[in-house]
Amino acid sequence: MYSRLNPVKLTIASSVLALLLPLFSRADCNSPKVLYFANGMFNDRVGANESKDELQKKLQRKYPSDKFATVKLAFNTDEAALIQLHQVFRQKVTDINVSFWKSFANLLQVNPKDVSTILSKYIAVEKLLDVDLSLQIKSYQASLKNGWSIITVAHSQGNFYTNSAFDNLNVGNMTSMISVATPASRVFQDGPYFTFKSDGIIGLIPTALSPNLTKEPAGLFDHEFIKHYLGDKTTHDQILLAVHETYNNATEASEPSLDPAARYFDNDVVPILNYYKEVVTQRSLLPGQCLLAWQLFDVYARHGATCTQRNFAAFKEGISDCLKDLNDKNQERRETNCPFYRGMDFGSPYQAYFPAESHDFFTSFPDCKMSFNDFHEQEGLNEATAALVLLQKLETKTTKRETK
């Protein structure tokens, strides 16, 4: 990843950088959002995909300005329950033209006692059944690592899984949940929920959150995501509004932090923060990597600035100013954005201890604490050029991530 370059490329790199800077000086601290749909027991793979697609389509139509980075399906099913329900269903309905998957609405009528018993046994239990959530948690973690915040619309039993996954992630400010037809007794961080009083499934579960919507006209089942919840105009609007409001509720971090999830930096800095995490696990660093770390702490320390000013452009300005200074034959010291001239080489206790992460960094990598002249002597020009090239690679990562 890190390579040394010939100094003759310096001028070209600097010029290209100067031309590119305005293109990337976007201001966006609110991280991109990713929308998940977590299906319930009565959605098979095809039905769950259909529900996810329908939700996405309706959101795009109603709130076209809400642009999700991606939309995913967190798929769950319950084999044991479905096998039992299928057995009951096929004992009563022998006509194979009657679809098992589309006839859940009739299940309660077919054999109310048996079906109620099965449903109560499987859906009312506030625990994970036989579903391993590790893959879903990994997917959520990957989204968070990208600096994306997560909005999950959970339907039916998908609520149990989402509550559990979000509890496991424990990053409340980046995960939001909207519950539909929930059998659970809570919504993660008290998010909004929508359950019909006439929902025939949730009505079987005494521990579920009290139904809060009236459907007109009421049916016997009223549990399906597309047909009943998105099919009811008022509820449809309420669910979409909840997603829209959650989408726009993202706030900036109040506490300084190098954690991408904290949103202290502009979102385009996330690849640099992830790179930093990798770098600090190494035994020793090259001077160019030290320079990047200095620049990181310099931008980090800009308290008066807004998060939009702690952005990728600030990194580039700092490093390119260092390049200009290193290239200056007169070695004239000026006040520029290069971290050398912003106190990093003064060795003051303040610089060593603030921010706290810089103290840890210089303790681990004492060789990184050097003056401008030291740096210059250690192939400074090559190292700074390499740092710039690395930044450009990380920038490509940023733009790819955003266009994904």
Binding site: D53, E54, A74, F75, E79, K102, V131, Q136
Partner: protein, 147 residues
């Protein structure tokens, strides 16, 4: 008398054969019936979407993927790649045609997994995918196969 007895035997044999054939086609628990079910599925899909050749082609792509799913539910993770592409294809065709119809994917599924044993196998297929996250499945006509 002897001739009539032979005749009666032949009739009985014929009836037995018909009953056997009927039983063979009615029973749907064997691998043979699962696999031979494809021809019936193909005809159902082609009939259902006869008036819309582009959608018919996409629906057949999806039905083929579901046929693989019921034939080998334990290989769900690999098969699902094809199913997801096929669902994208169907949704892509609908989007291209400006159709606002919902439930088409479910209709194709119902045609493709009809039968008690096929449904059970499809439940198993779903179980093998439980806990996973899927990124695709949105409308994308480029995922339609060419054949």
């Amino acid at each position: 008398m002897n001739f009539s007895f032979k005749k009666a035997l032949a009739v009985l044999f014929l009836i037995l054969l018909i009953l056997l054939g009927f039983w063979f086609f009615k029973k749907d628990g064997s691998d043979e019936s699962i696999i031979s079910g494809w021809e019936q599925v193909r005809v159902s899909v082609e009939t259902r979407y006869a008036s819309n050749p582009e959608l018919k082609k996409a629906a057949l792509q999806m039905a083929k993927a579901l046929q693989l799913a019921v034939e080998n539910p334990d290989n769900a993770v690999a098969i699902d790649v094809e199913l997801e592409k096929a669902m994208s294809c169907v949704l892509g065709v609908l989007e291209k045609q400006g159709s606002d119809e919902s439930g088409v994917l479910g209709d194709i599924r119902d045609l493709a997994i009809k039968g008690s044993e096929r449904e059970r196998r499809y439940i198993r297929y779903n179980a093998r995918l439980s806990g996973r996250v899927f990124d695709g499945g949105g409308p994308d006509i480029s995922l339609c196969t060419q054949d």
